[in-house]
Subunit: 456 residues, 2 copies
């Protein structure tokens, strides 16, 4: 199979002409043309290898042969819709149920995290008969109309906040022990941050509004790779249920063992904590469009009781489920959760060593292979070093490493690599980050000096 049909310049021209420009390219000034990938490595049209630290979707590694084999075998046999009985969908649901608290046992298969979150919203509203939604600031839950409405990350740039959406912004942008009001020295930040949600709920209810759910990523991602403090979810769940709502955990970025120690990131909040609805997506099909909502019998029951069919044309088809099953098999067979723990802690250790040398690294945080470090101009004021973060990503690309930024000030460098990421990869990337930070901090000082010379 030819690796490319058009030269890169022509591909770019065609892309600019034929594809909506709202669909942005990585490194938009000098995008990469990637024609091949394997494991955690990408290859451009000249055969240059790039280390991939960001493709969380290709969870068990790009082009894993077990996944391709399972997909092909099922494509040869059957790919009908889920209105016929088939073993794959039920077997897959059973396997997923084994990773979840017993209460979460009724599944709906869909094609994307956005479809999953939209359905979660419908389930929560049908069950509670309430409409309003409580979300964290900077949250992003998907590209659909209904999800932009509950994504402050998007709606503040678009149509603004709807009257039925309530954003937890009291006192601090996020329940974050690095930047928020309650920081590492606080005796119980989980409780303290949960109380800010309680205050919001009270205020909303005093206005006579009725809450359907608290909708939250188990670890806020575009919000800046935030690790929520212990005890936060159980307390918030208590408050939201007392207000007649349900707790929706969005595991689209964080599920399937990325955090290493647990299969789901919400499990970091304690063995006893169980959301009412969980949504999953990105890593689920290793790149194949596959996503899911799981909920309780009671919530599924009220959705059935409305008497209206839910039909998702491709959702839960035999090929999607065969791929999903193959992903679960690889996670187990290659012990990728243990790898995430092992490589993740080594990577975190190496990043913390860099932090000791470079004052620009204000914080290193994360669990398993969901890691981030935050660049700041000043370790007391925590002024975001946005420009430096952008430069670092740019320089890493020149050294054939793909990383990217996140967070409200785009100053958090995020790691969400394929789960086969190795010790050597961790060393390679941190070594390069070290070199570049040395150069960048120098460069920035020089360019500032030049600017000053020009100005005065």
């Amino acid at each position: 199979m030819a690796l490319q049909m058009f030269d890169k310049e022509r591909t770019l021209q065609m892309r600019q002409k034929l594809i909506g420009q709202s669909c942005r390219l990585f490194f938009s000034h000098e995008p990469l043309k990637i024609v091949k990938a394997r494991g955690q490595y990408l290859y451009d049209e000249n055969g240059t290898q790039y280390l991939d630290c960001i493709s969380n979707v290709q969870h068990v590694g790009h082009c894993h042969p077990s996944i391709t084999k399972a997909a092909t075998a099922q494509m040869e046999l059957l790919n009908a819709n889920s209105r016929f009985l088939h073993d794959n969908i039920v077997q897959y649901a059973e396997r997923l149920a084994n990773t979840l608290p017993q209460k979460l046992c009724v599944f709906y298969f869909v094609n994307s995290g956005s479809e999953a979150n939209d359905l979660a919203l419908r389930l929560a509203r049908q069950y509670t008969q309430n409409k309003d939604v409580v979300v964290l600031n900077h949250a992003y839950h998907g590209h659909l109309t209904s999800l932009i409405d509950i994504s402050p990350y998007k709606f503040w740039k678009l149509e603004g906040q709807k009257e039925w959406v309530h954003v937890v912004i009291a006192l601090a942008p996020l329940p974050d022990t690095y930047r928020g009001l309650y920081r590492e020295g606080h005796p119980n930040p989980g409780q303290a941050y949960a109380d800010t949600v309680k205050n919001l709920i009270d205020e909303v209810q005093n206005r006579g509004r009725k809450i359907s759910c608290f909708f939250v990523e188990s670890l806020p991602s575009v919000g800046g790779h935030i690790i929520l403090p212990p005890g936060y979810f159980p307390k918030v769940a208590e408050y939201i249920r007392a207000a007649g709502g349900v707790f929706v955990a969005d595991e689209i970025q964080t599920g399937f063992g990325r955090v290493g120690s647990h299969f789901w990131a919400f499990q970091l909040q304690g063995e006893d904590f169980c959301p009412d609805i969980v949504t999953m997506g990105k890593p689920m099909g290793n790149g194949h469009p596959l996503a899911c909502v799981v909920t309780t019998k009671e919530i599924a029951g009220t959705f059935t009781a409305n008497g209206v069919e839910y039909f998702n044309t491709f959702g839960g088809n035999p090929v999607s489920c065969a791929i999903g099953l193959a992903v679960l098999d690889v996670i187990e067979k290659e012990d990728l959760r243990a790898n995430a723990v092992r490589v993740g802690s080594q990577l975190k250790k190496l990043l913390k060593q860099l932090q000791a040398k470079h004052t620009i690294i204000g914080d290193v945080r994360g669990v398993g292979l969901f890691l981030g470090f935050e660049l700041v101009k000043d370790r007391v004021a925590l002024t975001p070093a946005t420009e430096e973060a952008g430069l670092l990503v740019q320089r890493l690309k020149e050294r054939h490493i793909c990383l990217s930024t996140d967070g409200p000030w785009a100053n958090v460098i995020k790691f969400k690599p394929p789960m086969c990421f190795s010790m050597e990869d961790a060393e390679r990337v941190t070594e390069q980050i070290g070199f570049i930070l040395q150069a960048i901090t120098g460069h920035i000082k020089i360019s500032l000096t030049i600017q000053l010379n020009v100005l005065y």
Copy 2:
């Protein structure tokens, strides 16, 4: 590969336990377990063959080897997201552009018809800066929150009609020359039905509301396989544009040559007619989750100008586009549009012969392999023969043929088979329909007699 893991009873039990019951099964009292399929044939766990007259998604035939081959080759090579440059997405967009009017030239790739329709709504609203939507009665545009809002087929069973949704119901349920106000004898039903939309637009505007779009299936499907009268779309487009809105053609059920004579069903409305936005889905990936929105430069331009990225995680990935390209290749190489014309007209002819014998068949309609026939108790009053339609479908299943009903009274039998449907298949199914109608009309009379005996 084993064809089944659990026996049918166990699969059914697991399904009832693990999968949301809103996800319904075909023939729910005695569902089929399908383990294998090829072309237009399905096979159950005992190897029994069923003729598939309804799987429009498996457009070029179930498990077409060319599609599997293309998918496998690309899965082995790369399946990254569309933030990297890749040839497949631009090549595919170019190929699709060649099937469309020149004005429709900017593409957004997504994972399902529902995602496509939601994005179409966003595009229309962003461009027009208006919110309201005009739809036909009984329309269904998808399972997402935003689409249930514009689908009378669903919202009248759920939350009801929103103030920004306007349903064309004036004078008749649908612009249908069989059941509507303007029937076959009318000199210009297209104009007459378009005028009912005009009246609605006027009424809506008089109330100070602003219309973003007319959202319509090119051939209403769940509405009862309606063939819209000539001239209807151009006139409606004129009225909707004059009101500041755009025309969205939903081709999710009807695109990719199903109508035979044209690649898109909206083209049946004349060479000069061009919608402002077209959505496509179901048949596009032959079962793989793949869908798309295409629009004009102007509309795409305002969407870009809002400055907000549109990122669809799986949309337009190299595997999805490779599959889409392979589907286009098969449609061309196997000349499936010509087959749809040839077999479709033969099937229609055979159904019309049945109509001549069986008064219960009130109407036979359709184009290409988008066909339907309507059962009525009375050819003057057009009383829907709903029970008989259900029985016919049930009896056909017993004779190993899959068909189903549609329309507001579930009395329309719809044909949307894979496009490789053959002359022999057409003869087989019509012969069986003939036998069953003979028996059913007898049976119904007998059962009515028995009921009467019991009642009196």
